[in-house]
């Protein structure tokens, strides 16, 4: 579990430190203070060997992956991962805890072959004339032992300009964007297959009961379409599409499924967790997130800009033994900062009705 966070040279962040992260962390702040970027950074960090495909998804998600000039393909995409100050981009994007431990570094270089010998040059220096150099994006992560660097993960560009895409299965990190999983090309039914007939299925049904207390079962059925959809069995009623039970149902299903499928020791990131959820459900949603995160050993980081969601989080955090941390992001020009509230201070905020936005 990442106990604190420092991000340097990554996207909008020149240097951002967050003194404390909890088992469950809620990140708040106005628009454009970098809430989503923080989630992306932690997602990369927690993705481990899958950091590069996670990086690619980040660019795709923000439509920054699209390029018009084939020759510029590498530049346009990769550059966007790195912070720029006055037109100069940082050499390295670095994500670690505030002590600098457990660091993940991203950087680019040029690689080419001289006969049988592989050669490379760091970003900023052009490759020699006449060689067929390729741009590489490299992610490397500090050893658990803290001695030196382990695993260098290289993602080469093939001549056609498309990245080689390693399998996503096995990553211990998952990011649920505000737009939902379908926009990510993830089929909810596939996730459901992972949990069906396990204890985790019960957790998901329990989550959905927050909105529909009489819910008995969920089944994924193929109803003449290309993909399966969720059907709900509610006590005393014939089966009906889950979607028809309200806007919040799909969101809640995705939040719960994401939480129970990320895996033990994993990290679950949710952008705008309350998107589509009615404010009266939020305390119960948070309570479930706290309980499930603790039980399955998952670290959860979510964002919101809703005051109801913050209040509900505080309430759930104060009533649960595992630590909840509220992080407020702020911005002044190009400078980003953070304030963290936990334990007694979280209690003060709630007791004194102090608005933290």
């Amino acid at each position: 579990m990442l106990e604190s966070l420092r991000i340097t040279g990554f996207r909008a962040f020149s240097d951002l430190a967050v003194e404390r992260l909890g088992r469950v962390t809620l990140v708040v702040g106005k628009n454009n203070v970098g809430k989503t970027t923080l989630l992306e950074a932690v997602h990369l960090h927690a993705s481990g060997p899958y950091a590069l495909s996670a990086a690619r998804r980040i660019l795709e998600r923000r439509d920054e992956y699209l390029v018009t000039e084939p020759d510029d393909a590498d530049k346009v995409e990769l550059e966007r991962l790195f912070h720029r100050t006055n037109g100069t981009r940082s050499d390295v994007a670095r994500i670690s805890d505030t002590a600098g431990a457990h660091a993940l570094e991203l950087f680019t270089n040029w690689a080419w072959w001289e006969g049988e010998v592989p050669r490379e040059r760091r970003q900023g220096e052009a490759p020699p004339d006449g060689v067929n150099a390729q741009r590489q994006l490299i992610a490397r992560k500090h050893n658990r032992s803290g001695r030196g660097w382990q695993d260098v993960w290289v993602e080469l560009q093939d001549p056609g300009g498309a990245f080689y895409r390693p399998k996503q299965d096995g990553s211990l990190s998952s990011l649920l964007p505000s737009s939902g999983l379908r926009a990510e090309g993830i089929d909810i039914a596939d996730l459901w297959d992972d949990v069906v007939l396990t204890d985790r299925e019960r957790t998901v049904v329990e989550a959905l009961s927050i909105i529909e207390p009489d819910l008995e079962r969920i089944v994924m059925v193929k109803a003449g379409r290309s993909h399966r959809t969720a059907m709900a069995k509610v006590k005393g009623r014939t089966p009906l599409p889950l979607r028809s039970l309200g806007d919040g149902m799909n969101r809640l299903l995705e939040v719960a499924l994401g939480l129970v499928t990320v895996g033990e020791g994993g990290t679950f990131l949710v952008d705008e967790i309350d998107a589509g959820l009615h404010f009266t459900t939020l305390v119960d949603v948070w309570r479930l997130v706290f309980e499930t995160a603790a039980r399955l050993d998952v670290q959860v980081i979510a964002t919101t800009h809703g005051w109801d969601c913050i209040e509900a989080f505080q309430q759930a955090a104060l009533n649960h033994p595992s630590n909840g941390v509220l992080v407020r992001l702020q911005r002044a020009g190009d400078e980003f900062g953070s304030a963290t509230f936990a334990d007694e201070e979280l209690a003060i905020i709630t007791r004194e009705s102090i608005e933290v936005r």
């Binding site: 407020r328 702020q330 002044a332 020009g333 400078e335 900062g337 304030a339 509230f341 201070e345 003060i348 905020i349 007791r351 004194e352 102090i354 608005e355 933290v356 936005r357």
Partner: protein, 213 residues
Amino acid sequence: MSEPHDRILLVEGRDDAEVVKQFCNHHGIDNRRLFRIEVKNGIEALLDDLRVRPQTHVRVLGAIVDADTDPELRWRQLGDVMRRSGYELPQRPSPSGTYLPAPNVFLPRIGLWMMPDNRVEGMLEDFLLRLTHDGDRLVTRAGKTVDDIPAEDRRFNPVHRSKATMYTWLAWQADPGTPLGQAITKRYLDPSRDPAPAFRDWLLALFTPAPTP
């Protein structure tokens, strides 16, 4: 125009809030435009609030606290909670009210006023007793009446002597039972007497927005 959400004045109780409002009214200060008053439930709640409030969106933060029986202790308590956010208090409060500049771009400017006058022990009621008119014989009499109560009959904590005196005095005005704040409106008190002008200047200097360059 609605009250600003990023310029906040914390006070210990409703009386403090009411006095500040009437005081501003008397001096023609548009308090609702300049700052929002938040009433805390006593000094402990106010100190708790001060511990975390600078870390929020607030841009200017003022606090009015009572010195009570030990001004030095109160000042140390304030120093302890402000240090959490990176503020260092001076050795002792400035007689004209204390200002703390923002340590960085994300933190607010802060102003502290310790009742009655940033020097001596006391509370809001001591501040108000000093605003009574020259030669008001009822002030002396109220004080004497309170002091003449035999110890065994006294139901109030000695700390609250000035409070007992103030309310005794208020009971003897043209409109007995006038609330503290309205004593200013009804001109029982004279808000041009010391230390009121210093208090007015502190409020204005703290909350008047700097002219945009």
